[in-house]
């Protein structure tokens, strides 16, 4: 049994407003083990992005705790990297691809030669060795998100947090990015915490899928995904187990949606 690298215990987050505190995340508890690929899914507006920003230490939490390798994580720290959904605003357009990827290493006392080696390696892993001297805006959406992934990998993180990274690319690019990510995950052994609203994507990629309720969110299910690896876009998705798991996650998401009625009041739903 591998130890948990990331522990989220009773995490809650409310935003302050004039009418009082508005809860976005009620109480979330789960562990992520070293090397695991864990996806978080939930109905839209359930606070997935808020939760990820809290776990990454980018937003202060109002309740509970996040710990990374046993120590509390309250602000961004080494070993945790984030890939954002909106690559066009997360990459710096005034820097070339290679400078964007090298930026997180600049303040880490890494020797120049080592920076060069790691940047080249990260770009090769995402298949963009040839695009090093271009600017992000000269690349397609899928390529830009690969640059953002390379920038996440370059710090050699233990945990890679990805917030709906493939939500703004087309379906074909998306499947190839999924396979690229699985290959990188297998190669580097990094732990991935992956947020998505796409149930197929979550099941296809993950070891475990965590289903959140409608906001303010709680964990409604934590499903192990027992599909064989390596996975294949056609063969894996044709297995009956895939269909079964997909149905199970879908059912949980739908049920969690029904649990809250439209006016925000919890409604009684027979289980």
């Amino acid at each position: 049994m591998t130890a948990a690298v990331l522990e989220v215990a009773d995490l809650g987050k409310s935003y302050r407003s004039r009418k009082g505190d508005v809860p976005a995340v009620r109480s979330i508890t789960f562990d992520v083990k070293a090397g695991e690929f864990v996806s978080v899914v939930g109905p839209s507006g359930c606070g997935k992005t808020t939760l990820m920003m809290c776990i990454a230490g980018l937003l202060p939490i109002t309740q509970g705790a996040v710990s990374f390798r046993g120590t509390p994580l309250t602000k961004p720290r080494d070993g945790v990297a984030v890939v954002f959904q909106d690559y066009s605003r997360s990459l710096f357009p005034w820097l070339t691809v290679v400078k964007n990827v090298a930026l997180p290493l600049k303040d880490r006392k890494v020797p120049t030669a080592e920076i060069r080696r790691r940047v080249t390696h990260a770009l090769e892993m995402v298949g963009l060795g040839h695009a090093a001297d271009l600017h992000p805006w000269q690349l397609s959406g899928g390529m830009q998100q690969r640059v953002a992934i390379a920038r996440g990998l370059v710090v050699e993180p233990e945990v890679l947090i990805m917030d709906e990274p493939f939500a703004s690319v087309d379906a074909q690019t998306r499947t190839s990015l999924e396979d690229l990510l699985l290959r990188i995950w297998a190669e580097t052994g990094t732990t991935v915490l992956f947020v998505t609203h796409d149930i197929d994507e979550a099941v296809y990629l993950s070891d475990r899928v965590i289903v959140l309720s409608q906001g303010p969110s709680v964990v409604v299910a934590d499903l192990p995904i027992g599909l064989d690896r390596p996975r294949d876009q056609v063969a894996t998705k044709q297995t009956s187990l895939f269909g079964q798991l997909r149905g199970e996650v879908y059912g949980q998401v739908m049920a969690s949606r029904k649990r809250t009625s439209l006016n925000g009041e919890p409604a009684a739903v027979p289980r």
Binding site: M53, A56, L58, P76, R77, D78, A81, V82, F84, D86, S88, R89, S90, F92, P93, W94, L95, L103, P104, K106, D107, R108, H135, P136, W137, Q138, V155
Partner: protein
């Protein structure tokens, strides 16, 4: 329209105006104060240029009056750019400081710099520093305000990205904030080019012993109107050149901005 003829559509009106000027001043509207344009051009050549390669074909007069003016503009403008962009960005990201200095900035902006000229003459005397001070102060406000807005408008995702990378404050300032605010800063700098020209001339009209402004008053007192006009023409040309150089610089330095937003290149 063919490629060769295209520039003509931009200059024909100018050509007509100059032609009418030439004809009127030679015939019905002869005036001591408004010489024919051809006379101005002739004086322009003889006043500012000389057949001496060692001085880059510039006349003594050019070196005595134009170079000091250009130097003052460059110094004042550079000071305003450095203080304005760094100060504006800092005030933009450091909210309490922004709120603290806001009234002072509003007040400073509202004082026409020319109103400070008599005071500056007393404080600095008739020195280069006085001209430079006024140019710098006048150019400061547009750059400062625009840098402030630019820094406040930094995209939220970009700021979060930078935070997740744990950049040092210095690197965040130099690699994220300053370039992120640079389209706004450059917009302010562009406005300031004109302000710098105006303040150069005005401050030299009243308080200088060299420079284009001083030259203008001298020629006026000596009733040398072709010389006066040739200086005005030179000032206009310097303004056009400065703007063109600026546009060129902007296009190369901010290419990422224009292209990534899909503007015309």
């Amino acid at each position: 329209m063919t490629r060769l003829l295209r520039p003509l559509q931009w200059v024909w009106l100018l050509a007509v105006v100059l032609l009418v000027w030439e004809l009127l001043t030679r015939t019905v509207a002869q005036s001591l104060f408004i010489p024919p344009f051809s006379a101005i051009i002739r004086t322009f050549g003889s006043s500012w240029f000389a057949a001496t390669p060692s001085t880059l074909f510039l006349s003594d007069q050019f070196r005595e009056h134009v170079l000091p003016s250009l130097g003052r503009i460059a110094a004042g403008y550079a000071i305003a750019t450095v203080i304005g962009s760094c100060g504006g960005v800092l005030l933009g990201v450091w909210r309490p400081a922004g709120a603290f200095f806001n009234p002072l900035i509003r007040l400073g902006m509202s004082i026409p710099v020319t109103a400070l000229l008599p005071l500056a003459i007393v404080v600095f005397g008739i020195t280069n520093s006085m001209n430079i001070f006024l140019i710098a102060l006048g150019c400061l406000w547009p750059i400062l305000i625009n840098a402030y807005d630019g820094a406040r408008g930094i995209d939220g995702t970009m700021a979060l990205t930078a935070r997740s990378m744990q950049l040092s404050r210095r690197r965040y300032f130099l690699n994220v904030l300053l370039p992120g605010a640079s389209p706004s800063i450059v917009a302010g700098m562009r406005v300031s080019v004109g302000t710098a020209m105006v303040l150069m001339v005005v401050s030299e009209l009243y308080a200088a012993t060299t420079g284009l402004g001083y030259y203008l008053t001298q020629q006026q007192r000596l009733f040398r109107f072709p010389e006066l006009w040739s200086a005005i023409l030179l000032i206009a040309l310097i303004g056009i050149l400065a703007n063109a150089a600026f546009a060129l610089l902007e296009r190369s330095a901010l290419r990422w901005h224009h292209t990534s937003r899909g503007d015309a290149r």
